[in-house]
């Protein structure tokens, strides 16, 4: 007969704690990406780990570099509009607007109220679409699948609206220098209004699924904290900067396109961790809806492009086909490009991902001499080297999700 032996486990916790200091760990190099679900695009991370803790993280970028700045130097101002779609490809409309305003500032054109209101509306719709995707995949990075399905469904409705307005769902190319491609179609504003009325219901569902979710909270609270000083020093912008407690929103502080007429709040975080970045984006969606309602309620009538911008904005089609003068004007704009005076300009717009800046040097004529695109995601990723060390590898997934970057814009 077998004899029974009693096995005692003793104090497991104290033993494992003791063992931990004894187990020699080996430094390990890990290569994440460039094609990896965590990296949201083609970002590559060279990571050094001590056990499960990241000791060094070096982002390697450039896998999506297309030379947009070089290309810009060889084509007319209007021809470059489709290239701006492909910067932050999650909010092409906002890029179109930022680019158009930069060139218009160089040419000292102001577009009429209707055009400005329309631009504000499409910027805010782009912000909705970008943040809806951003929050959805952020939830997914932290292990929550359902919110993604909810936000993606809403984003799909937005793309239908974009298609009705611009003719394209994704690569909209909607603005021209001095205006937009076409006026709003009939009944479109009503559809946007309906969408804005229905969106809060879904947002509340997402809010219930994520905001007080214990798992999501534990994975994001206190993770990836960025101090105010670091955020400024590394040039973070947009929601990433505001989550650190800095009140800087270019729509409020450097209003463009008539943003000063609209009433909205700028949400600010308190600690600058991943959870704050989530909360700030969530609140920004509600504020965007508020702006959309205000724009639609007092949507101005009148012209939607700068009528006095001769040699810059093409005249109406019916006049091109019937009048010699307008035909010549249109011909010149298409072949030689909008005539922009000599000078240089730097303009930043508050895009969903942060401040998208265009620095344009013109020597006159229809082609820029030099164009620099200041991408918010580029700056957001540069802080990774500083903030990642000390976190667990699994936290890195959440940190990347919370920064909400897009590689098309980072690499240009």
């Amino acid at each position: 007969m077998k004899q029974k032996t009693e096995i005692s486990l003793g104090d497991v916790a104290s033993r494992s704690a003791q063992a931990e200091s004894e187990i020699p760990t080996e430094r390990m190099a890990l290569n994440v990406g460039p094609s990896h679900p965590t990296t949201h695009g083609v970002l590559r991370l060279l990571i050094e780990m001590d056990g499960d803790v990241v000791t060094k993280c070096e982002p390697v970028i450039g896998y999506l570099h297309r030379g947009d700045e070089k290309i810009a130097e060889s084509m007319t101002y209007n021809q470059f509009v489709p290239f701006t779609d492909r910067l932050d490809y999650l909010a092409p409309l906002a890029n179109n607007v930022a680019y158009a305003i930069a060139v218009e500032q160089l040419a000292s054109i102001t577009i009429p109220e209707r055009g400005q209101a329309l631009r504000v509306l499409i910027c805010e719709l782009a912000r909705l679409s970008s943040h809806l995707l951003g929050l959805g995949v952020y939830g997914m990075d932290a292990g929550a699948w359902t919110p993604f399905m909810y936000t993606f469904t809403e984003r799909e409705k937005l793309y239908d609206l974009f298609e009705k307005l611009t003719g394209a769902r994704f690569t909209t190319s909607y603005t021209r220098i001095g205006g937009v491609a076409r006026d709003v179609p009939e009944g479109w504003l009503g559809e946007v209004k309906k969408f804005c009325n229905e969106l809060p219901k879904t947002l509340n569902d997402v809010d219930k699924l994520l905001t007080r979710n214990r798992i999501f909270y534990d994975r994001t609270k206190g993770v990836g904290t960025i101090s105010k000083e670091d955020a400024l020093a590394y040039g973070l912008t947009g929601a990433n900067l505001r989550a650190c407690g800095i009140d800087l929103d270019l729509r409020k502080d450097k209003p463009y396109s008539g943003y000063e007429q609209y009433d909205f709040d700028v949400p600010i975080g308190s600690t600058g961790d991943c959870y704050d970045r989530y909360l700030v984006r969530m609140e920004e969606i509600y504020q965007s809806i508020r702006i959309c309602h205000q724009v639609i309620d007092k949507f101005p009538s009148g012209p939607w492009y700068a009528e006095d911008a001769e040699k810059i904005f093409a005249p109406p089609k019916d006049k091109i086909l019937t009048s010699m003068e307008e035909l010549i004007q249109n011909f010149m704009i298409v072949t030689e490009g909008p005539q922009i005076p000599e000078g240089e300009v730097y303009f930043e717009a508050e895009n969903p991902k942060g401040a998208l800046g265009f620095f344009i040097v013109s020597k006159g004529g229809g082609v820029p001499y030099r164009m620099k695109i200041r991408a918010p995601s580029f700056s957001a990723l540069s802080i990774l080297e500083k903030m990642a060390p000390g976190h667990m590898l699994t936290d890195l997934t959440v940190i990347l999700g919370s920064l909400d970057f897009v590689m098309g814009e980072c690499d240009r």
């Binding site: 970028i61 084509m75 500032q105 400024l232 040039g235 240089e344 730097y346 800046g357 700056s379």
Partner: protein
Amino acid sequence: MQTAPEFLRNYDFLSERETGDCPSVLCPADRVIEFVKELRDVHGYDMLVDLTAVDWDKESPRFMVICHFLSSQKHLYLRVAVNCPEDESPEVPSLAEIFPAADWHERECFDMFGIRFKDHPNLKRILMWDDYPYYPLRKEFPLAGIETPLPSAEIAEVTGTKVKPAPMMGGPFVAPAEGHVSESEPRARDESWTEDEPKPAKKIPETKRQ
């Protein structure tokens, strides 16, 4: 609120630049560190939002580094331009010590223009691969690119491929009005070559890697 004329009065090494938007000053390369420190600590320009360069081609000084500062409290932009003293091997002091944001922007500048930043902690290419021999945003670099070996020597050996220039050189594209539709695809104005018959090679001196 400091506007450009006030800066000019306080710092005699600065000179004003003509500009249409924000105040813009030109700072000599050897004083830029001192000036930018003052900008951050005294004048409240606490963000370096952008740093880039312009290649003025035939002019001298050829390269100009341009930084944009933003004050997060006063919401003012300031443009600081720095001429690179030498045209052949341009070099300016690095701002990465004062603004960590400058780190990546300067690497990009080095990558695209070949401007070296003195005392930069990690000056290497950022968008192009490490062994890339040219500086693409210099004016003499053609839009289509220049044939170069693949970044990975192993793959190049097996496949025998190279990085080829894009078949689109020549600027604004033209479409012939006559002929069959398949013939009237927009194409480059320069028709001295096709994809089958390569373009006669234009010699561009390979930039020395330092």
